[in-house]
Amino acid sequence: MPMLTNRRKEMAVAASLVAPFVLTFVVVFLYPTIRLVQLSFTNAPLIGSGEWVGFDNFIRLLSDRLFLTSLKNNGYFVLLTVVPTTAVALGFALMIRRLRGALQALALAIFFLPYILPVSVVTQIWTWMLDFQFGVLQPVIEFFTGKPVSVFKNPYWVMPTVAAVTIWWTNGFNVLLFIAGLRNISKDYYEAAQLDGATRRQLFTKVTWPLLWPVTALVLTLQLILQLKIFDQVYLLSSGGPFNSSYVLLLMVYREAFQLNHGGYASTIALVLFIIIAMLSVLQFQLLRAGGRR
């Protein structure tokens, strides 16, 4: 039965090849996820088991003022970052594409550089730049508002500022995706459109935009997922303050789990965030794809 042994051998090889991934996936993702779901129905502390409390945690969430504030702030942050960062990245990519040779490489490097910095360095840079007394950017703020503003201690300024820092930090990667997408559009399309009498505006709306749409949809979706998971920048820049005006869901998970020792409740929040992200990103991607097909 040479066929059968061959088949068995193939299976064994295949299994041994996928085993490391499957094992890692089960140990560090699947098992913790299942445990998280279990925990969210208990009143367990961070370490050790708790009692089954049914949907109590979820019901409690609905009336938790901080949860609702955080949810709203997460939404606000998404509004402040996802579309703006995509638009900014597209704009820069279009400009960088016009450059040639070394100049283009330099521009790309400049935009990508912040992306390789660790978040703590990024937040430190901006803390200094926006320092109320010594920050180099305070004169700029003063020019527009008439007085210096302690941005991370001001409930109106804090979220937009964190959003701006985030865009500065992560934009390079999006620029890179757009540059790659733009390079994939054949020059022939532009020349054909030019011969047909397209203006520069029409070249963008009729050629670049529709042909780049798959990349745009990808960037928007990646950004939505990333920005819903906001934690480090807020934690380091404002710790959720002032008056919880920059409090976000992951900050709440952190507080409930590691500061208040409420493992069960923290799991509930994390689970809800997970479901929100999964639903929104799938929904958005489907909508964007449908939009592209039109």
């Binding site: 054949s186 022939d188 399309y189 020349e191 054909a192 459109a193 030019q194 011969l195 047909d196 009498g197 397209a198 029409q202 009729k206 050629v207 529709p210 042909l211 749409w213 592209g292």
Partner: protein, 356 residues
């Protein structure tokens, strides 16, 4: 005059790619630019389209100087090698693209696109996307997009090179038919001399940005101005053999073939000094088996059915291709004796110039 070029030049930085090209293409003509890759034929076409600036000289279309006119206003349409069909648009939308940019009335757009689709047999495919079409169909859509614009000049940049051999022959015929049907001026760029021969009213042979010769296909074939044109036009290529002028005999030039001890007579009027080194050009179909001719050993036979090609070698070591239509027993490995009539022997100077 359809298209006139006067001393047109193009350089990229210090590198000149087109050198003082002048030509006249009559209205309604099918002109073909042919040459090896890098000869500047595509650049020249793109300059006529307005996609490349001209460094010097003037380009006129139907009497209007368009040298500095933007592409869209030159009333030319171009078919790209890649077809450049927009993947997100249907066949109809692709063909209607230019009309929609110009905000043409819907009914008129419909009418024109359907007319083009009828000519190109694309009526059943109008609602499909380019990705759902075969190579030949895409090619036709690209042509349709050009037809819809009703341009004065059609420009084709190697339009058939992405198709397989069979389809290429078929599309070649369709293009020829289309030209008859529409009657517009067409310029066609190709590196394939067979395409050039079969399609062209006039061929322009280019090399290194210089026109080597222009004329009707058979003129170029029968009467090349230089060794390059002689070698480029025709398949299999013309044989070139080195030789030396020995003198004159009955008004014909006596040329000794290097390394063979044999001589040929060529009909050349020009005075050429005895002992001058020359190159003899012989088309494979002009070589015949003669008594006491140039001996050659057959190394390989290619039988194509109606015609056979013998790949042979002279005593001097020069390779030579002979066309034969006689079906005989295999000549492989045998020595044959070759000759040609004086009218069929072309003579070129050392620098490639034709000596007439």
């Amino acid at each position: 005059m359809g298209i006139s070029l006067h001393n047109v030049r193009k350089s990229f930085g210090p590198v000149g790619v087109i050198h003082d090209v002048s030509m006249e293409i009559p209205t309604g003509d099918f002109a073909v630019f042919v040459g090896p890759s890098g000869c500047g034929k595509s650049t020249l076409l793109r300059m006529i389209a307005g996609l490349e600036n001209t460094t010097g000289g003037t380009i006129s279309i139907e009497g209007r100087d368009v040298t500095d006119v933007e592409p869209a206003k030159r009333e030319v349409a171009m078919v790209f090698q890649s077809y450049a069909l927009y993947p997100h648009l249907t066949v109809f939308e692709n063909m209607a693209f230019s009309l929609r940019l110009k905000k043409t009335a819907k009914s008129r757009t419909n009418e024109m696109v359907h007319e083009a689709a009828r000519i190109l047999h694309l009526e059943d495919h109008l609602q499909k996307r380019p990705s759902e079409l075969s190579g030949g169909q895409r090619q036709r859509v690209a042509i349709g997009r050009a037809i819809v614009r009703q341009p004065k000049v059609f420009l084709f940049d190697e339009p058939l090179s992405n198709l397989d051999a069979e389809l290429r022959v078929q599309m070649r015929l369709e293009l020829a038919k289309l030209h008859k049907q529409i009657g517009a001026t067409m310029i066609y760029v190709t590196h394939d001399q067979v395409e050039a021969m079969t399609l062209a009213d006039h061929i322009f042979v280019l090399k290194s940005g210089v026109i080597q010769q222009a004329g009707k296909p058979l003129e170029l074939y029968d009467n090349p101005d230089n060794q390059f044109v002689g070698g480029f036009i025709g398949s299999p290529a013309m044989n070139f053999l080195p030789g030396r002028v020995l003198g004159r005999q009955h008004g014909l030039l006596r040329i000794g073939l290097d390394g063979t001890g044999k001589e040929l007579l060529a009909k050349v009027r020009a005075e050429i000094g005895e002992g001058t080194s020359v190159r003899i050009g012989l088309r494979p179909e002009h070589l015949q088996a003669v008594d006491n001719g140039i001996p050659a050993t057959v190394e390989l036979e290619e039988d194509l059915g109606g015609v056979s090609y013998l790949h042979a070698r002279l005593i001097g070591g020069q390779a030579i291709v002979v066309e034969t239509r006689e079906r005989r027993k295999s000549l492989d490995g045998q020595t044959i004796s070759l000759g040609a009539s004086a009218e069929d022997i072309l003579v070129f100077a050392e620098d490639g110039r034709r000596l007439r």
